[in-house]
Symmetry: C3
Subunit: 351 residues, 3 copies
């Protein structure tokens, strides 16, 4: 793995998930893999879980992690080419990135969309300029349109649950009993539903985009997305999923419900509806297959998700957030291994 | 020791102080006790000494310490139960704490009182919710009403001074000569005075509360509190101390004078008096037993304490602040030992 | 080396540069020199390269580095003696510094000039009070008037370039051919030009002062400073350099051009001219000896330096910034060695 900015950087998702679960069982088995290696974690906006889980993952591998809150501890970076820098931006990415690349063996970068200019946000300019100019592997710590470390943690959480409960097997058995003809291509698959939720602020689409992209690539679930009209996500991420605007219909027989708000992609960055009936409740869950409820956190209680769900037995949001460490650790260790392989086989540092 | 939020969590204060002094003599004797362990230090308001001394104490024990400035690097947490989170708070403690508990082996938490709602401040809601939801040991890095790591450092400083000077012995000898009848129950004890000082801003009562609580539990001193009328502290902390509103009277024969401002407890959070005659000076010290002067820092020079005292031979404020490291190291190592004991005897991590 | 605040703290510049280049070749050869040692890095204003390079240098030597952003994570310090602290400053340097000195084996301090009161800025009060009160070695991470870690990195960059290209030798040969008489004392030296550049904000003189001071002490170059009238630097730093207000004249036959803006020293802190013709371009470079172009970064593109230069083959600004790590590592290791020597020969910690 050279960079990690989307599911497309993953060559073997099953192996990556198994690596993560191996670390979960034994966090310190590769305590020296990152010896004398260093990751710089650049945050253009605040983060708690992503920052902490990445720092911890790095430490578990014996790497040194240094966090830089670019906005607070640094200054405004310029990303436009050819500009006369007589305004508020203090340094160009073309100058900052190669220096950071000389200081670190890899860089984690957290950016955020403007939610004003879709084309610019979806170009992922920030991330691509870091890749272009830093000369070291770039790991997305959430970008304008995607959040791959979160999505990997999501897949880990589902896989872990299935393995532990051997649910996949059970599920396929039950379904085959009721569906002898076996015409349904999803008949022996679990059902995962991504369900839009209300929120008080316009949020990025990145978690929803990214989860869709990873679910489609994972391929082990019947994947349904449900949202009010006008909240269609970018097709390049959702293609392959069933999209339904009737939430009750979508939730039927679901094994996992991933609850998440996002602002409109088509009427970009807008809140089109905040219908509170879209908030998941225990009552809505009754039509599911006693579904486990997921959310990437932070969650607005009693706006996105009810207390009764978050405090009840169906919520697995804590386990999901805890798995962020093993997601990050699996990715960092793959990048370290690629880098070590390159050093061994090319005789010098992969830059 | 499971948590450390007040003196009540200490089973053997003498042993704890001796552990601290052992670390002061040899900081790195337990370099591997905290191997593969991690403390998360959450600051809801700025801190210099507490933050640095805790980080250093953790490092001395081989632990990894990660600091999170919650206000600046994170977001507003919600502590009310059942609330509809459609306002400014982004995440509920019920969701944040268990995730932090999954990332860290213990959490240090620094909170601050509002100084507006006494009942709320004195409920220590923040700290108790962390204890309730995090599932790992919680260490107070100063709370709304107490500052136990400071108080332990204060006791260490006094004990160290007595041991070094063998003053306790000398003092009791001198006193017994002049007081043959021996009626005074404090006759062979040193005298420690907590003396209120003026300040320009309303400050919490926590350092004064906590010092009172620890002095009473320590029991090796005659303990006197002096302050202008209206500045009585919460009796649950001061009970057992002699309270005098005449400062000159209180200072007589004092061996240690702890200078500290606090706002009113009864007329909650108010500044009732800023009489500058309460500032300690060398002249006031003449009635003491050449008392050593303490302050938790930061100190407003020439408001709380005069330059002549802070720059003179009676001040031990630097040693006192330096002892914060050994205070924290003693507490962290007790918690690590309890946790290791639990792992050994229960076969898994104490959560 | 006891402190590191200017070139005057360097006893053997050649040895220091060679140490830096040794670390560049093998960063981890002294992985245990700083074992159980700790540096506190205090930033009174934001920094990226200085902060990261110092942290990395410390880690390379096995030291623990703790960063404190004093303004954001701490509070306002008072530096005036004898003041009644009833205003906005919370703690006096006389109280803060000795505590920090008790926590750390050395302190890095980054301060900034007001650009309003020249006498105060040039007194370097902040730095000198830290030296006076902390009791441990103080390392300037840029001060009001100087930036010695930058200047050392600048010298390293030039030396490295000369060694790699054996340019010194070649240059002296070429010069001797065209200048048989050999009257010019600079005849066999390379030529380094410090060239003022426009900027949108008034900047400190520290980088320019410091580079001048180090170039003069280094003594291996013909050193020329060029700037518009009114931008003369403090003679105590520039004495020995040739000062020319005609940039084209100054650039003739230059081997290195160091581009940097500074505000006026004489009309203190003022911007007297922002003539954009002072911006270095490829055309201006034609009169040089195909000069390498340096800048300490961050650089305002197309204001201080044109894109064509920064993106072209003459720019060595990335290498120069990368060398900040080896500059810091050489300085930290000299201080550690002095400190270890003192411990060995005096039997206790050098305070």
């Amino acid at each position: 793995m050279k960079n990690f900015i989307s599911v497309d950087d993953v060559t073997n998702m099953d192996a990556l998930v198994q690596t993560a679960l191996k670390y979960k069982a034994s966090p310190f088995t590769e305590r020296t893999l990152g010896k004398d290696k260093r990751i710089g974690c650049l945050f253009f906006n605040p983060s708690m879980r992503t920052r902490l889980s990445t720092q911890i993952a790095a430490q578990n591998l014996g790497m040194e992690a240094i966090v830089l809150n670019v906005g607070q501890e640094g200054w405004t970076l310029e990303f436009e080419e050819g500009v006369i820098m007589n305004g508020t931006s203090v340094e160009h990415i073309k100058d900052a990135a190669p220096v950071l690349g000389s200081y670190f063996d890899m860089l984690g970068v957290r950016t955020f969309p403007s939610l004003k200019d879709r084309e610019e946000d979806y170009s992922e300019k920030y991330l691509h300029q870091f890749i272009k100019y830093a000369g070291v592997p770039i790991i997305s710590l959430e970008s304008a349109t995607l959040h791959p470390l979160q999505s990997l943690a999501d897949i880990i959480t589902i896989e872990e649950y299935l393995q532990f409960n051997n649910k996949e097997h059970l599920h396929s058995l039950l379904k085959s009993i009721f569906n002898e003809a076996g015409e349904d291509k999803n008949s022996n698959k679990i059902k995962v539903v991504l369900s839009w939720a209300p929120h008080v602020k316009p949020l990025p689409q990145c978690v929803a985009n990214s989860f869709s992209q990873w679910m489609n690539a994972w391929g082990k679930a019947e994947f349904v997305i449900t949202h009010p009209a006008g909240y269609q996500l970018d097709e390049s991420f959702t293609k392959g999923a069933t999209i339904i605007t009737n939430q009750d219909e979508a939730l039927k027989n679901a094994d996992f419900v991933y609850v998440k708000n996002w602002s409109s992609y088509h009427d970009y960055g807008k809140i089109l509806c905040n219908d509170e009936c879209w908030m998941l409740t225990n009552e809505k869950l009754t039509v599911t297959n006693n579904a486990k409820v997921m959310h990437c956190l932070p969650v607005r209680r009693n706006v996105e998700l009810s207390d009764e769900i978050l405090d009840g037995p169906n919520s697995i949001v804590t386990q999901q957030a805890a798995n962020r460490v093993w997601s990050a650790q699996a990715v960092l260790s793959e990048i370290l291994e690629t880098s070590n392989y390159n050093i061994k086989h090319k005789g010098d540092k992969s830059q």
